[in-house]
Amino acid sequence: MSSDPFDSALDLLRRLPPAKTAHNVQLLCDLAPALSEELLESVDVPLTVKKCSKSNREFLCCDYNRDGDSWRSPWSNAFEPPLEDGVCPSERVRRMEVRANEGFDVYRELYFEGGISSVYFWDIDDGFAGCVLLKKSVSPTSKTSGSWDSIHVFESQDRARMSHYKLTSTVILNLGNETGVLGSMDLSGNMVRQVEQDMAVEDDNSHVMNIGRMVEDMELKMRNLLQEVYFGKAKDVVGDLRSIQALSEANREKQAHREVISSMSK
């Protein structure tokens, strides 16, 4: 067990109900103000939505497009609420950002058939970094609801004709179901995965393609993983806690099965 207060705060957030992470981060910031900046930077919570008054389009907010109390719109590069001299990417990086936003807008429509996407890039030494944000909420019936927030943060370091990409992806998936016969059922959580990859780069367009493909592969992998954990693992654990079939009957069946196998191998 770590003796570091920050690690302890993260350990708590890994154990307490994920549906309440945003609330608990706030409590932790109030309990330990010295940790608040680092906590807000490193803990992913469901994304908030703002409307860009210049383009009239919605965009997603996180720490990476924030300057003070304003957030930069990826569609207009302007801050909401307006801010003089807000931090913007360099001209070259902004051009890539515009292209990435076009790409992920298509990606969003193909995979999410709705929802909101936003991509933010910024300059770093030896390259650039960015985050790809996607959000969608559904309520297929009045009794069920779901929300998906993906937060992909990457760094790209330039090398000769190549670039080294480092991607950290978080998906927050909250699902709820409440009916008379079932009662309430909340299945919520988040999962994090990282990947590093070297890919060929011809020009700045290559970066957008490379990042697009990395995020696409990662989301496919994570969607499969979430499906396995939420609907496989969690359900299996319930089955480990309680068996619908009588255990004596299950054991008799297992014994009979073993006898068949051993008689076949003779």
């Binding site: 076009e102 193909l110 069920t144 059922m185 939420y230 309680r242 068996s243 619908i244 255990l247």
Partner: protein, 275 residues
């Protein structure tokens, strides 16, 4: 002196600790606050957690685990068990029992409790691989609390789970009400939690014996588990599928090389317009 805000915030962390992870949560709280004695002021929250979660413990020298609940707490803060006819002191932070004494509870329902215990124990061992049960007269001896808890902890595989059933049976009015709660935590490279709760109001005929009561419980619990399995399927087929497709309609990944040269949404869509 711990402020009211601090005590309430830390108590809320304790109340929502996952199955089998209370000690992880209290350790983290101590490191976070830099106060190794802070749990002393969190004693009410720790007690509430252990009683609500039906925390189980093996008594020194005992073979079967016993559970903690508000129903088997004695006035001096000790707990008792009818089956083993003993009482014990319980440390709510370390979750250890000590100072076991013999204890014979008095209830006008002693015979009913004995037969309920027998029936429930048979039912529980048929359906809960790891179970602890408890049956206690409530304070005024007019009703009986019937409790079942089943835990499975696998911290090396980053998951823990708990099933709790709690019923109140009134022999005089033949009413049986209760609640089932399931709590599953999975935390390998993430934090996923299943929390369920279902209130029950079961019909039993007047003069029903212990066998009938446990039968009604068995039927309700089986039905609930089947309903929960349908709940998983419903979320998987409904909300989950509605959030993000596995692949685009075209069943092909996106053609990123076309980004920029085409108007948004026109034909980057995985070869939709390929000849």
């Amino acid at each position: 002196m711990v402020s009211v805000f601090k005590r309430e915030a830390l108590s809320s962390f304790i109340q929502s600790a996952p199955p089998g992870e209370l000690s992880n949560v209290t350790t983290a709280i101590k490191t976070l606050t830099g106060d190794k004695t802070i749990t002393t002021s969190l004693e009410p929250a720790l007690r509430k957690y252990n009683e609500e979660q039906f925390t189980t413990v093996k008594l020194p020298g005992g073979s079967q685990p016993v559970l903690m609940s508000e129903y088997n707490r004695l006035e001096d803060g000790r707990y008792y068990d009818i089956e083993s006819q003993s009482s014990w002191a319980f440390d709510h932070e370390s979750q250890k029992a000590s100072a076991v004494q013999s204890y014979v509870p008095e209830s006008k329902h002693n015979d009913l409790i004995t037969s309920l215990y027998k029936s429930l124990s048979t039912h529980a061992s048929e359906h809960y691989p790891s179970n602890t049960i408890g049956i206690y007269p409530t304070s005024d001896d007019s009703t009986l609390a019937i409790l079942t808890v089943s835990n499975k902890y696998s911290p090396s595989n980053f998951w823990n789970g708990r099933w709790r059933s709690s019923y109140t049976f009134s022999p005089s009015s033949s009413t049986l009400t209760g609640r089932i709660s399931v709590d599953v935590h999975y935390y390998e490279d993430g934090n996923v939690r299943l929390l369920t709760s279902k209130a029950l109001d079961l019909k039993i005929s007047s003069g029903a014996d212990a066998g009938h009561v446990v039968k009604a419980i068995a039927v309700a619990e089986k039905k609930y588990q089947q309903e929960l399995n349908r709940g998983f399927a419903g979320l998987s087929e409904g909300a989950f599928k509605g959030l993000r497709r596995q692949l685009p309609v075209t069943r092909q990944k996106m053609e990123w090389e076309k980004v920029g040269g085409y108007r948004v949404g026109q034909d980057i869509g995985g070869g939709r317009f390929k000849s």
